[in-house]
Symmetry: C2
Subunit: 250 residues, 2 copies
DNA sequence: ATAACAGTACTGGTATACAAGCATCAGTCG
DNA sequence: CGACTGATGCTTGTATACCAGTACTGTTAT
């Protein structure tokens, strides 16, 4: 076996976030979004065959997506039994909260003297959009995501976002369980404004304080939801995926 | 279609860290270890077919393992071109450093009043083992891993370890590039001892300070390695996997 | 009625076959 | 001698077939 190779630049392949429009990536993003938005509610059975048929692809990309989601903790796979959307595990939510808080606060410590002007402008627009009255819940979540991501970007540690995003995913999924009936995005939008102002003022300590309060408020929100609807959460980490009798007309 | 389901407890499946002895898990752990220990050096070509043949399995588990490793950033997959062990990317190393420092320092803030006695004893033994003269480099890395993991466990945020472990993996891989010729584990072992003592004394501030110094020292170590052997690092994030002419007798 | 047993339809894990695309090689033409 | 071009062997992505194992069904024996 002889192989002759030459140096090649694949920069373009990695450019942007799209990388490559492969079936697996599409399925992965689709399923992840559906899990996080509760379109696929916790505990749902995810049959590889059914998903493949529904999405018009073969089992392979579906299966590979499920493996990734399982690694992220959004899905549980039981060999020879089935795959299920993870119940919202309070322990995991707490871990996500801890991790997110640690990273986002540390990022505030590392803010440069002069901030990226474009990013600042973008964040300003974002905050304005958050203040829109009667804003849709899903739209708020999108803006929230972009805000926190942008804030992390200001500290030149933007590449750490994927880790935070994973943690935030678990938190948001828990929040969505109750946000539709209770929470008011306006409060959180105001907290975002406070944090941003502190950052603009170069007041790291205040920014940290406000950020911590904000993130803790989010966590409190989740705890309230849990006490109100405990059945949506996993009672214990190793709990069974409770399968129920389902009848469907064909 | 009608499906009758019953509640079942799969706790045992999740018990421990083993979960299930599946081929994919074995391959994943094997490859990950080989990448982190530089047994598979940065830039190596990883052919799914060759790996499958070498490991005595089919492409499927190999491929799924590569996907997971790619998600962790240890491997790069270029469709229709090839898969390669990631070059050590300074940016990614810096991100890993930032993330790890944020989490491990935050954990020290959350230490409970009275520590888990068993874990403390385990950590004491671990530190003693680290002090052994003429300790093997790989053995030191194992002990180092267990030490930091145990320290995180003391704060009841042990479940966040997997995230830290991933970051630590990138850092350790960079360190291994130069540790064999230069670094002395004894220095780091002493730093571990200092941190641990501060924790035992319930002196959070000192523990944080020592931990920060320790982690920064590790990072400095890597920077030194980089300046000494820049060719081992990726010059830019989108760099090409440089393929070289290889001739092999069959 | 109830408990035990075979049957069956489903699961995910694995192996394999095929398809699409890239990089090199060999030949050819200018 | 250099540039172009089809052939070739590799790569990963996808689809499919088969396997071992599980959990339900319906029947049978008690």
């Amino acid at each position: 076996m002889h192989r002759h190779f030459r140096a090649v630049d694949y920069s373009e392949c990695m450019a942007g976030s799209g990388r490559q429009r492969t079936n697996r990536r599409v399925v992965h993003e689709t399923l992840r979004r559906q899990v996080l938005t509760l379109e696929l509610p916790p505990g749902s059975a995810l049959s590889e065959n059914e998903l493949a048929a529904a999405l018009g692809v073969s089992r392979t990309p579906v299966r590979e997506s499920l493996i990734l989601l399982a690694e992220e903790g959004l899905v549980q796979v039981f060999p020879q039994v089935g795959s299920f959307v993870s119940r919202v595990d309070p322990e995991r939510v707490a871990d996500a909260q801890f991790l997110r808080e640690a990273v986002e606060l540390a990022a505030l410590d590392d803010l440069p003297a002069d901030l990226d002007a474009d990013l600042v402008a973008e964040l300003r627009d974002n905050l304005a959009a958050q203040q829109r009255p009667g804003i849709d819940v899903e739209e708020f979540f999108t803006l929230d995501e972009e805000f926190h991501r942008g804030l992390l970007g200001l500290s030149s540690h933007g590449r750490a976002w994927s880790t935070v995003a994973s943690a935030k995913g678990h938190l948001d999924r828990a929040r969505r369980l109750g946000l539709y009936e209770a929470g008011s995005p306006a409060v959180f939008a105001d907290q975002h404004q406070e944090i941003f102002q502190a950052v603009l003022d170069n007041d790291v300590e205040r920014a940290r304080s406000r950020m911590r309060r904000h993130l803790r408020a989010v966590f409190e929100d989740i705890e309230q939801i849990r006490s109100r609807s405990p059945e949506l959460f996993a009672s214990n980490s190793g709990a069974a995926p409770v399968r129920r009798n389902v009848v469907v007309w064909e």
